[in-house]
Subunit: 358 residues, 4 copies
């Protein structure tokens, strides 16, 4: 289904070239201060056309709030928000129902929906469908901030260029949110930009890794099994198109660690129980420990590239070649950064509400 969340539930709608994309967000407690400007701010960070490293598609992506907020506060009823699609040109997409693009959902959508899917601009599989995720998540971010919880993501890696892991959240807010590539370190940001432009020049694209940090989470949030913090966040993060891997804390490095290295030993600081290291990424037994949550997601290179690719003509069932013309991002990582923040916020708010902790 196209909805998620037990207590803070997001139901999305729209397609890339339909009249609008949006969502209904249910379960936001009444009385939360919600600034439409702040939602717009997150939408603007995700918006294309902002720089030479993103798609030239021109969309203003102005938020329209249809319900759920009155006098700057949530009413307790469903919050509906949407953005109109303007700059659509569907002609180029007709052929992809017959000759599916490698790395895209053209083929699998055709099988699943028996050819009735809205294929224009990728339809529901388009990156534009992350707009509803950002709307829902930006509301969650504001709710979390009322409780002192802050969520911040940054580009940890783009192609061959790595930034430092685990930068201070204020640095992310001050630096990463100001540059084209979402990187918390200004000089690394330049290298990342060069890496993207390099791929672009070759008619190619490049992937990366986004890291997300959460400070201020109270301990005790999450469930031991099926609704562990990892389960909830992974479920939501894998909803973002292009994500192919997720890890928490030490992540895949745990494979090479001994228990004595990996265990985070407890200590007391300022009257609070904390751990010396944070290999667990703030989660023990599926439940928050009060330490910062740390996670990383792998983002694949944009599948739309200018290079000629091999595909098949499904109607004639024979092999063919395919050239994609159009507007694409040479790297989706920078625009995915606010999307990652958004869904992490939505997931955490959902778990806090379910645990009666909000």
């Amino acid at each position: 289904m196209n909805s998620f969340g037990k207590m803070y539930r997001t139901s999305i709608f729209g397609t890339s070239h339909g009249p609008a994309v949006g969502c209904v967000v249910d379960g936001c407690p009444a009385g939360i201060r919600i600034s439409a400007d702040r939602i717009q701010g997150q939408l603007d960070r995700r918006r294309p056309g902002g720089s030479e490293v993103s798609s030239p598609r021109k969309e203003r992506d102005r938020l329209i709030l249809l319900s759920g907020v009155l006098d700057g506060r949530s009413t307790g009823g469903p919050i509906a928000g949407m953005v109109n699609n303007k700059d659509t040109d569907s002609k180029a997409y007709e052929i992809f129902k017959v000759v599916p693009r490698p790395g895209h959902a053209d083929f699998t959508a055709g099988v699943k929906y028996h050819g009735f899917q809205d294929h224009r601009g990728g339809g529901i599989f388009s990156g534009r469908m992350t707009i509803p995720l950002v709307i829902s998540g930006s509301i969650a971010l504001q709710a979390l901030e009322e409780k002192g919880v802050h969520v911040a993501a940054h580009s940890l890696r783009i192609g061959r260029v790595w930034a430092k892991s685990n930068p201070p959240i204020p640095n992310i807010e001050r630096v990463a949110r100001k540059n084209d590539v979402g990187c918390a370190d200004p000089s690394t940001a330049k290298l990342m930009k060069a890496e993207i432009l390099d791929a672009k020049r070759e008619g190619d694209s490049v992937g990366g890794i986004i890291e997300c940090l959460v400070s201020g989470m109270p301990a005790g949030v999450g469930e031991p099994f099926f609704d562990s913090v990892e389960s909830e966040l992974a479920h939501l993060l894998f909803s973002i198109p292009a994500i192919k891997g997720i890890e928490f804390g030490a992540g895949f490095q745990v494979a090479e660690m001994r228990g004595s290295e990996n265990n985070d030993q407890f200590k007391i600081r300022n009257g609070r129980v904390v751990t010396e290291t944070n290999n667990a990424g703030g989660i023990l037994g599926g439940i928050t420990s009060g330490m910062p949550i740390v996670l990383r997601v792998a983002v694949k290179p944009t599948p739309s590239i200018a290079k000629t690719q091999r595909s098949v003509n499904l109607r004639e069932m024979k092999e063919t070649e395919l050239e994609i013309v159009g507007r694409h991002d040479p790297c989706i990582v920078p625009r995915a950064v606010p999307v990652v923040e958004s869904v992490v916020a939505a997931g955490l708010l959902d778990l806090m509400l379910a645990g009666g902790i909000f």
Copy 2:
């Protein structure tokens, strides 16, 4: 909540030292051939006490089926299965409510349940709670096999020792299921065993990576957004204690790839649309493509180690040392292999039923 699945739903119960652990499995279609022996076979693979690389806790783990199967076939009603706990000794655990073990859920459980949790043997956070996952998953495995779908996992890495990725599924069935460490290659299996015994000798533990392969999946299973194949499987896999990372297909390697490398180009073989490579791990736009599903999970080293660790006394709020005596696995990877197979099967069956494809 302690249940998962929209159409094939598993609700688990029990604790490590309570009378039993088990599950209710709802949504299994009527008429599926279900062999209790095959469920038992998977339970036996997971069972402790089988070898020198696992915990010496002695449990026979005999399956008791309480409902849902009649004359060897599913009835369409809920299937309840459980296993009694026998070899329990709760005395040693009293102290962990006060002095939490690093890497365990003692601390977070205490916060979440306000001290009322069943802490004996780790309670609901125990690895024994994977028994219900295996019961549920073993039923799903049998249902999937009726449709030609096969799920097989193996130990890809233990500590410093790597096996080859993506071995043939029959090799896994013939080799990996026969040795102590779940490895598909006999000579690598020996090295893995040595690696585990090495850690054990030092009173320590070691982590690893499990790879899971699925063949025979029809195309068109899964949902574009919140119920993508990745979302569903990650949700379930992160329910297995000790899992800290998940990746599909090329996984975290996509970060360093160009689009032209990562895109799987389509071709036709034997009248079917396939791809030349399988970096997508059999999933495009959240939906199965008909190619094999490939995923890997990172397993942390067992947190229970013999070495002295630092912790805190929560009652007196002061730092202290902790020594854990008792029976533990020096490496949880081998016993987690059938658990990974089980939850992958449960997730795929759930998605197939939800998509009306089973």
Copy 3:
């Protein structure tokens, strides 16, 4: 939550005096023929201002489809539909936050939402929120018709006037949908209209009973326990404001029947198993039997009346009197008839999809 349905899920949004009311409908299979005109037709039947027995609020209630339908067919993605609010005048409602109207949700909403609710025009508790139910249900009606299932409701009783139970469905379509009161018998319709105008003249309102019939349902739909046909339909029907009772088949009359009278004996007609009577209302053990589904709902008299009523001033915590001026329906029954059809259709489609029978 403001959503319902396991496989055909409706999420509603909006308030009486906000910019719009609408819904996101998820799970509609791809390829169903969906006519926006037919949805509009059902909306028009529900619309106020059509006759002297309904509220004079002027709304055109033009359907705006935002996604999910392309070239007259469902795409398989979420269907979003909405209607703008035009004729809103919120001034009169300020006082009801302080002096709650008897029979309305003013008081309970204030408690639940701590005063942050959108109270204008009754907010989310307004009868206008049945518009999304009609949009969702009208889509379901069209899906059901593809399978030969027909849903038809009529006014069985208004105040003192009773119509005949269980009229032929074509009569309902030909007669009940054409008159002001939704009654399948023309002469009874006149008496019902007189009954309503009688109440209106006295500044009062009147209640009634709606009966809904479903023909063509295949046997085997529904679940034995929590998702019985009765459970699913009752859940949805009690979402319609003003419904206070529901019964299936013989309903409350079963209390005075002997088993030998109430049991529907099986026989064979035209090679099909049918029953001689239909006291079960087409449902045995929660599952459809293939006989017509028959249900009735009790609709309370509109709580907004012109007569002076007693209430309390919540700010000053003292008793007071209240006079409601404004536009109201003297009887809500006729306008609720298409709403009942709609939610019954949505519920049945949900169960058919969940049972793999659609």
Copy 4:
């Protein structure tokens, strides 16, 4: 699915003649005092064999608690409880797969489960499946009592005999729970018993109405639309086999009332907002008002009767006669009284938890 509840979820398992019936209850907050004796007490009220007005099937129905309660308190983990089946005799049921019993689910179960259902003793459709409802509900009753909420049901009508509506809850506890028929008035109880024995003598059965009252509910519980108090309770109550109608407050009588009669006018008593009448049954806009909840359910006469009935032979597709020998209740109403209390308690606890009010 065979589970219900967003926050307090009950998953049931078992069949009439399988080894056991039981449930897993998830979401009970940690630290609630839970007495196994009190659960047993409710089970005993439901148990057959207690009197000449119930089935002579001999079952001790001893509760076995498998998890979730430690030292008399809920742990916060899933609570599993079950009861073994002892007095089973399945021989007589073979024929009903071929010749379905009127009023039973034999026919619909066969269609739904394609003949694979466990038909012995009615399988999952048996009244024994209300045992898990009682276990789950008895836990909820104890949780509610900690908050001052009391739930009490009584036999309002059996066949031709009516008792007084809305008796004081202590009367129900003192009188109704002590006599064979669950009636709050001793002299009416005698008439009810005579009515049942009358039907029994004739080889027939008789139906009735159960009324349930809830005192102490805080205002503000429930949701405006799909999770209204009426929706939630109706969903659960229609899970009880034999229930064919439900009404709240004035119920079906609202059809003949004017708005001025039906509206409950507000007043202040002891500093609290109350209403003069309670036609709304304690629910306005789907949300509790703080007034007592009042509801009534119609219970059909037991379908198993000694009289010869007409049915069909499904194998030969021809009409035939059927005689049912065995043990049945001439009236199910008295034994259903504690089941109604149970599911009402479970539903209210679920809504309180979902609303963050518990």
